[in-house]
C-alpha cells in the first residue's frame, strides 16, 4: 500500500469553558490515515467533535496536542507563511455555502482569489483557469459574473467546490457539504464529487452525520462519539456488521423507506452527555446495554479486528468471539 497523504496522530483539542474554568474535551486522542484517491467518512452526531476535527487538521483551530502530517511532512509547528504554502495542497468545502461565500464577490472573484494568492497567476491565466474550473463543477461561463444570491443552493455549493479545487489540492476536507441541500440536489453534488475524485485522484475526508451519504461515497468510515473514534473500517464491512454498540445504535436508528418493514432497533438509554469534565471511562458507558464495571474505570482504546477494522469496545469484542467460536 502506498503512503498516506494525510496522517493524524494523537490529536487532542480541549476548550476551557465557564466559571470556574472547566475542561471540554472536543477531540480526545484521534488518529487517522487518509490515502490518495480514497474517501474516508467521519460520521457522528452533533457534539461528537467531527467539525472541530476538520478545523484542527488544517489548523483553523489550533490543536492542543498531536501530530498532523501531509505527504509525510509535519505541519503541526509551521508558522503562518509555511501554512499558507501547505493550504495549496489541502482545501476545505464548508457546510453552508450561504455563509462561506462572500456575498459581495462574484463567482469569478471568489474562484480567482486563490489563483492569484496561491499560484501567483496573471490575469489572462486566471481567466482561463476559472472558466475551466466552473466547467469542471458543471456551471457555465455565464455564472462567473453572478453573485451568490443569484445562485441556487446547489449552484453555490458547486462554487464552493470550484474554489477548493482551484489550487489543485491533493486533499479536500468536506465538512457536511450536502446537509443544507434537498435530496435530489444532494445526489447531483455527490455524483460531481465522485467524478472529480476519479479524474483528479483526490483524497476526501468527508465529515457527515448522514449515513446514506457515507454508504454512497466513502471507502472507509470512522465513527465518532464524544470526541473519540469508536469504530473504523471499510464502509461495506461496518454497515454489514457493526460491532461497537454506538455504531449499532446509529445504523439501526435510520428509518427505511420501505413499506411493512421495521428495523429492530438497538437502543441506547438517554442522550449524548455533555462533553465537559468527562471521567476517565468509556464515553458510552452510561447509556450502553453492554457496559460492565471495567467500562466505567478506563477508556477503551481501538483494538484491531482483522486487518482493516478497529473497535474500541472490549465487551462487544468478547461477545463476538464467544458467538463466532
Amino acid at each position: 500500500m502506498n503512503n498516506p497523504i494525510l496522517r493524524v496522530h494523537g490529536l487532542r483539542k480541549h476548550f476551557e469553558v465557564g466559571h470556574p474554568r472547566k475542561r471540554l474535551n472536543a477531540i480526545d486522542d484521534v488518529a487517522l490515515d487518509l490515502f490518495p484517491g480514497e474517501t474516508l467518512a467521519v460520521v457522528g452526531e452533533s457534539g461528537s467533535g467531527k467539525s472541530t476535527l476538520a478545523r484542527c487538521i488544517v489548523r483553523l483551530i489550533e490543536p492542543s496536542a498531536g501530530e498532523i502530517e501531509i505527504d509525510g511532512r509535519s505541519i503541526t509547528r509551521l508558522g503562518s507563511a509555511g501554512l499558507a504554502r501547505v493550504y495549496r495542497h489541502i482545501q476545505l468545502v464548508f457546510q453552508d455555502p450561504n455563509s462561506s461565500l462572500n456575498p459581495r464577490m462574484t463567482v469569478r472573484q471568489t474562484i480567482e482569489e486563490p489563483l492569484q494568492l496561491q499560484l501567483k497567476m496573471g490575469r489572462r491565466q486566471r481567466a482561463a483557469r476559472s472558466r475551466e474550473l466552473v466547467a469542471m463543477v458543471g456551471l457555465t461561463d455565464e455564472h462567473l459574473g453572478r453573485h451568490p444570491h443569484q445562485l441556487s443552493g446547489g449552484q453555490r455549493q458547486r462554487v464552493g467546490i470550484a474554489r477548493a479545487l482551484a489550487t489543485e489540492p491533493r486533499v479536500v476536507i468536506l465538512d457536511e457539504p450536502t446537509s443544507s441541500l434537498d435530496v435530489s440536489v444532494r445526489g447531483q453534488i455527490l455524483e460531481l464529487l465522485q467524478h472529480l475524485q476519479e479524474t483528479l485522484n483526490l483524497a476526501y475526508l468527508f465529515i457527515t452525520h448522514d449515513l446514506q451519504v457515507v454508504r454512497r461515497v466513502s471507502h472507509r468510515v470512522a465513527v465518532m462519539y464524544l470526541g473519540g473514534i469508536v469504530e473504523q473500517g471499510r464502509t461495506e464491512d461496518v454497515f454489514a456488521d457493526p460491532i461497537h454498540p454506538y455504531t449499532r445504535a446509529l445504523l439501526s436508528a435510520a428509518p427505511t423507506a420501505q413499506w411493512g418493514v421495521t428495523r429492530q432497533r438497538f437502543r441506547l438509554a438517554g442522550e449524548i452527555p455533555s462533553p465537559i469534565d468527562l471521567p476517565d471511562a468509556c464515553r458510552l458507558a452510561g447509556r450502553c446495554p453492554l457496559a460492565e464495571s471495567p467500562c466505567h474505570q478506563a477508556k477503551p482504546t481501538l483494538v484491531p479486528v482483522g486487518s482493516h477494522r478497529a473497535v474500541a469496545c472490549p465487551p462487544a469484542l468478547t461477545l463476538r468471539q464467544s458467538l463466532v467460536g
Binding site: L211, R215, V261, R265, L268
Partner: protein
C-alpha cells in the same frame, strides 16, 4: 450480531377509513412580494382522515409548510389566496375572523414546528409556557395549569417532570425541547395535530425516539395527525396516508402502502430511489 441489520415485517397497518376532519379544496395563491406574481400554490387539494396519520412529503419550496400554515391561518401576510377553501369540521377556516381562529389554534388544531428551541420563549420556564396554553384555552387556575404542565411532560416521557417544568428552554437538549413542544401541542387535547418537520435538525438516534413517541401518542388516542416531512423513511414507519407535493402542486396521494410500493408519479419514484440508497447500495 447481524440481528440488528435484519429487518422484520411490521404488523400490517390498516389505514383507518375515517371521514375527513380537514378538507383542503383547490387552494391556490401567490406571494405579493414576488415580481411576476407567479402562483406559489396551484390548486392544492387533499384531506385528512379522522384518526389517521397523514404524511405531506416534499422538498424545499414544494408548498407543504405553506399549506399547513394556511390551515391555522398563520401564513405570511404577503401570501395572497386566489382560490379554494379549507374546511375544518365543515367550517371554512379562510373565512373566519381572528377571534374565532384564536378559539381553534392551540385548542382544536395545534402545531409543532421544526426548530423547537427557536419556537420556545427563552425567558419563561417551560412549565409556565405549557400552563399558559391551558389557562388561555381551558380557563384553568394557576395551580391546575401547573399540574397539567407536569402531567404533559410526563406524557411525553421526560424524566423528572416536577423539576423540569421549572427549567428554561436552554436547559433542554434539542430532542427534549421537541418533546416539550409536543407536550404543549397535546395539552388541550386537540382534534388535529400538525407536525412540521418535527425531527429535521435532530440526530438520527434522537429522531428515532421522537418518531416512536409521536406514533405511540397518536395511535393511543386516535388523534388525527398531519406529519410534514421530506424523509420517506419516517413516512414508511409512521403514516397511514401520504400526499406528495412539488412546486406548489399535489402530485400524488393515496395510502402510504400505495405510494411507497407502487408510486405512480415519476418524482415519487425518484424520491424513493434517493431514500433507498442505504438499503440498496
Amino acid at each position: 450480531m447481524s440481528a440488528d441489520a435484519a429487518v422484520t415485517p411490521a404488523a400490517r397497518r390498516r389505514a383507518p377509513a375515517g371521514d375527513a376532519i380537514l378538507e383542503i379544496e383547490n387552494y391556490g395563491g401567490y406571494f405579493s412580494t414576488s415580481t411576476d406574481h407567479a402562483p406559489t400554490l396551484k390548486g392544492v387539494t387533499y384531506s385528512l382522515a379522522r384518526g389517521a396519520i397523514t404524511a405531506i412529503v416534499g422538498e424545499t419550496g414544494s408548498g407543504k409548510s405553506l399549506t399547513a400554515l394556511s390551515v391555522l391561518q398563520i401564513q405570511p401576510a404577503s401570501f395572497v389566496r386566489t382560490s379554494g377553501r379549507i374546511l375544518f369540521d365543515g367550517q371554512d377556516l379562510t373565512e373566519l375572523d381572528e377571534q374565532a381562529l384564536r378559539g381553534i389554534r392551540g385548542a382544536r388544531i395545534s402545531m409543532v414546528f421544526q426548530d423547537a428551541r427557536a419556537a420556545l420563549n427563552p425567558v419563561f420556564t417551560v412549565g409556565r409556557q405549557i400552563a399558559d396554553v391551558c389557562r388561555l384555552h381551558q380557563g384553568l387556575s394557576r395551580k391546575d395549569a401547573a399540574d397539567a404542565a407536569v402531567a404533559a411532560l410526563r406524557l411525553v416521557h421526560i424524566p423528572d417532570p416536577e423539576r423540569r417544568v421549572r427549567q428554561y428552554p436552554h436547559e433542554f437538549s434539542g430532542g427534549m425541547a421537541q418533546r416539550v413542544m409536543i407536550a404543549m401541542a397535546l395539552v388541550c387535547q386537540p382534534e388535529l395535530l400538525i407536525l412540521d418537520e418535527p425531527t429535521t435538525g435532530l440526530d438520527v438516534t434522537i429522531q428515532a425516539e421522537i418518531i416512536a413517541l409521536i406514533t405511540e401518542l397518536c395511535r393511543e388516542t386516535e388523534l388525527t395527525t398531519c406529519l410534514i416531512t421530506h424523509d420517506l423513511g419516517v413516512v414508511a414507519e409512521t403514516c397511514d396516508y401520504a400526499v406528495v407535493m412539488r412546486r406548489g402542486e399535489v402530485l400524488e396521494k393515496g395510502t402510504c402502502e400505495q405510494v411507497l410500493t407502487a408510486p405512480r408519479h415519476e418524482y415519487t419514484q425518484q424520491l424513493l430511489a434517493a431514500s433507498r440508497l442505504v438499503e440498496n447500495a
